[in-house]
């Protein structure tokens, strides 16, 4: 187990390197720079600016310098928000994004697993068909379509919840639901499939023969093995929630990292965009690692060496 963890950690290093290199060189190949404005700057001023940000050095030196900085947790100064470093911007945005994302994932897990298990227990009956149709609809409605519809219904017509951002719990309800819905849909479908398979297996038949109640069978025996595919889906789910948060934060005006990313990309704020990509990439890689460990711990058949 320890050796496996170490090996996985080592494997993450080339992934991170490729990630940083791709983002770095793509950005530098792009036409247009951070100092492009309506009125072009005097040549000397621009040269000074470029020198100040070390944009005049050869590309490989810039890349090496950036890598070194990232290792120290320093993503450089933001080109657009002149008084802030990228690390500061990420540090202000991340707690908000994290609160939204983590709540959405938790909600998706609880609701998705419950709905999927119920559907599996009522296989091919009305409840099952209802849950599956609703979840297919959930998968098919993108969250940037769902978010405005939620605002229209719950904020504008019914006036139950606020549409904007204020930082309170009530402000979180709609963005969290919009983020969680597609994941609820996926997770309930996954849970249903694996639960049906588990319920057909011999050890469940034995448990039934012993006269255990359905409740005990599902909660004590079937749930853990049925959760395996859900656990391995958590990696992609996190990535999807993070990506989704980019538009959701835009729609609800949430001051998180997602909004910085879109704005940074439009402003050609090289360092900010790079910082967000590297930060989120590292986050996804780290999370995938944790998911794999959880999987190994849950599944007695998996022996990592």
């Amino acid at each position: 187990m320890l050796r496996y963890s170490l090996r996985r950690l080592l494997a993450a290093i080339p992934t991170l390197l490729v990630l940083i290199a791709l983002a770095f060189f793509m950005m530098r190949l792009a036409p247009g720079g951070p100092f492009d404005q309506e009125r072009s700057l005097p040549v000397e001023v621009e040269a000074n600016l470029r020198a100040a940000y070390r944009l005049d050095e050869p590309l490989y030196l810039q890349f090496a310098r950036y890598l070194g900085g990232v290792l120290r947790g320093d993503f450089g100064p933001s080109f657009h928000y002149r008084d802030f470093t990228v690390t500061e911007l990420i540090a202000t945005g991340f707690p908000v994004s994290f609160k939204l994302g983590a709540t959405a994932i938790l909600l998706a897990l609880v609701v998705g697993v419950t709905a999927g298990s119920i559907a599996a227990l009522r296989q091919n009956r009305v409840t099952d068909h209802a849950v599956m149709t609703v979840s297919m609809t959930g998968i098919s409605i993108p969250n940037f379509v769902m978010a405005p519809i939620l605002i229209l219904v719950f904020a504008i017509y019914l006036r139950w919840l606020p549409a904007g951002w204020g930082g309170s719990l009530r402000n979180m309800v709609l963005p969290v639901i919009a983020l969680a819905l597609p994941q609820i849909a996926y997770i309930s479908r996954l849970t249903r499939g694996s639960m049906i398979e588990v319920l057909r297996s011999n050890f469940i038949r034995t448990a039934k023969a012993q006269g255990l109640s359905t409740r005990t069978i599902v909660l004590k025996h079937a749930l853990k093995p049925a959760l395996l595919p859900v656990v391995s889906y958590l990696g992609p789910a996190t990535a999807a929630v993070i990506t989704g948060s980019v538009v959701i934060e835009q729609i609800f005006g949430v001051p998180g990292i997602g909004r910085f990313f879109v704005q940074g990309a439009l402003n050609r704020d090289y360092t900010l965009v790079m910082g967000v990509v590297v930060f989120y990439g590292a986050l996804i890689i780290a999370f995938n690692f944790l998911v794999d460990l959880a999987y190994a711990w849950l599944d007695p058949k998996v022996k990592y060496s």
């Binding site: 992934t15 792009a30 609809t137 409605i141 405005p148 990506t243 990309a265 965009v273 990439g281």
Partner: protein, 298 residues
């Protein structure tokens, strides 16, 4: 399955072999949801191609006297108009053309890359396979959506780039699936049997490997198209997709979301079209998977 081919040769009376596709069609026909989904997709495709010609308005025509009016038969604006007075019926169908086209072309791009890559890795195996799959593993962990956004921002919003960019991020799954399939097919008894009977390599690949890959690929293509449409509309929603006055469902949903208080129809029509299409592709893909997965054959 194709394993029967060798067996039937030995039987004196020729038994009609059931091909994978006949079998699959039989299973699929019983799945009513998938058939309805397929019918809706066909109808949708015909509608977005033919529909704009039937309307008196063009997608870019601004009817200033009738800006932001709701759906009505009397004005001829079936779905109403947007804030610039452009006919929403035509724009929704026109956006559908772009969305479906992107879905199709980008899927073909990812199909070509994925099948070539996966088949190469699976066919050669060994060290080549190892290295190629390592690369896929590394790329797998990338937050690709961010890269597509970067591509669109830095290299301009052009439709060719959308095709390639989206196709280029979607080939990883395809490569993995095709590689696994090729690898296992190479060692299947019916392939060995065919080899032992002296079937030439070319015939072997054509008759046994390719048909067995096609099933998986067909399922996967059906499931990739909605993903690609989704990515395109995501980009368009962020304002990074196709350029005005051209439009796509994602761009229309974005415009609708901005005006939803005063003109909810601007949000609802494109949203319904987009969701219906994604819904049908997902359903059809599910049905195809059930029909074409040899493991589930009853």
């Amino acid at each position: 399955m194709n394993a029967n081919v060798a067996a039937t040769a030995a039987v004196p009376e020729q038994v009609e072999g059931r091909s994978l596709w006949v079998d699959a069609w039989r299973t699929l026909r019983k799945n009513r949801a998938a058939i309805v989904a397929a019918a809706i997709i066909v109808a949708m495709t015909v509608l977005v191609i033919v529909g704009p010609w039937l309307s008196p308005y063009s997608y870019a025509f601004t009817d200033w006297g009738n800006a932001s009016i709701g759906p009505s038969l009397s004005t001829g604006h079936l779905f109403g108009t947007d804030t610039l007075g452009r006919d929403l019926f035509v724009r929704t169908l026109y956006g559908g053309r772009i969305s479906l086209l992107v879905g199709l072309v980008a899927t073909v791009v990812s199909l070509l890359i994925g099948v070539a890559y996966g088949a190469t890795a699976g066919y050669f195996g060994g060290r080549i396979d190892n290295v190629m799959m390592r690369i896929v593993d590394i790329l797998y962990a990338m937050p690709f959506m961010f890269f597509v956004i970067l591509l669109m921002v830095f290299f301009g919003r052009n439709i060719l780039l959308i095709f390639v960019a989206i196709g280029a991020i979607n080939w990883l799954d395809m490569a993995r699936i095709v590689r696994g399939q090729t690898l296992s097919l190479k060692h299947k008894e019916f392939v060995e049997a065919a080899e032992a009977l002296g079937v030439s390599t070319f015939a072997l690949i054509r008759r046994h490997i390719v048909p067995n890959l096609l099933g998986v690929v067909a399922v996967y293509v059906t499931l990739t198209i909605p993903q690609v449409i989704l990515v395109e509309s995501f980009l368009s929603f962020l304002g990074l997709g196709v350029q005005e006055p051209m439009t796509s469902w994602g761009a229309l949903v974005k415009e609708g979301a901005e005006e939803m208080e005063s003109a909810p129809w601007m949000l609802l029509f494109p949203a319904v079209f987009l969701a219906t299409t994604l819904f049908c592709f997902n359903f059809l893909g599910d049905g195809l998977r059930d029909a074409l997965d040899p493991k589930d054959r009853g």
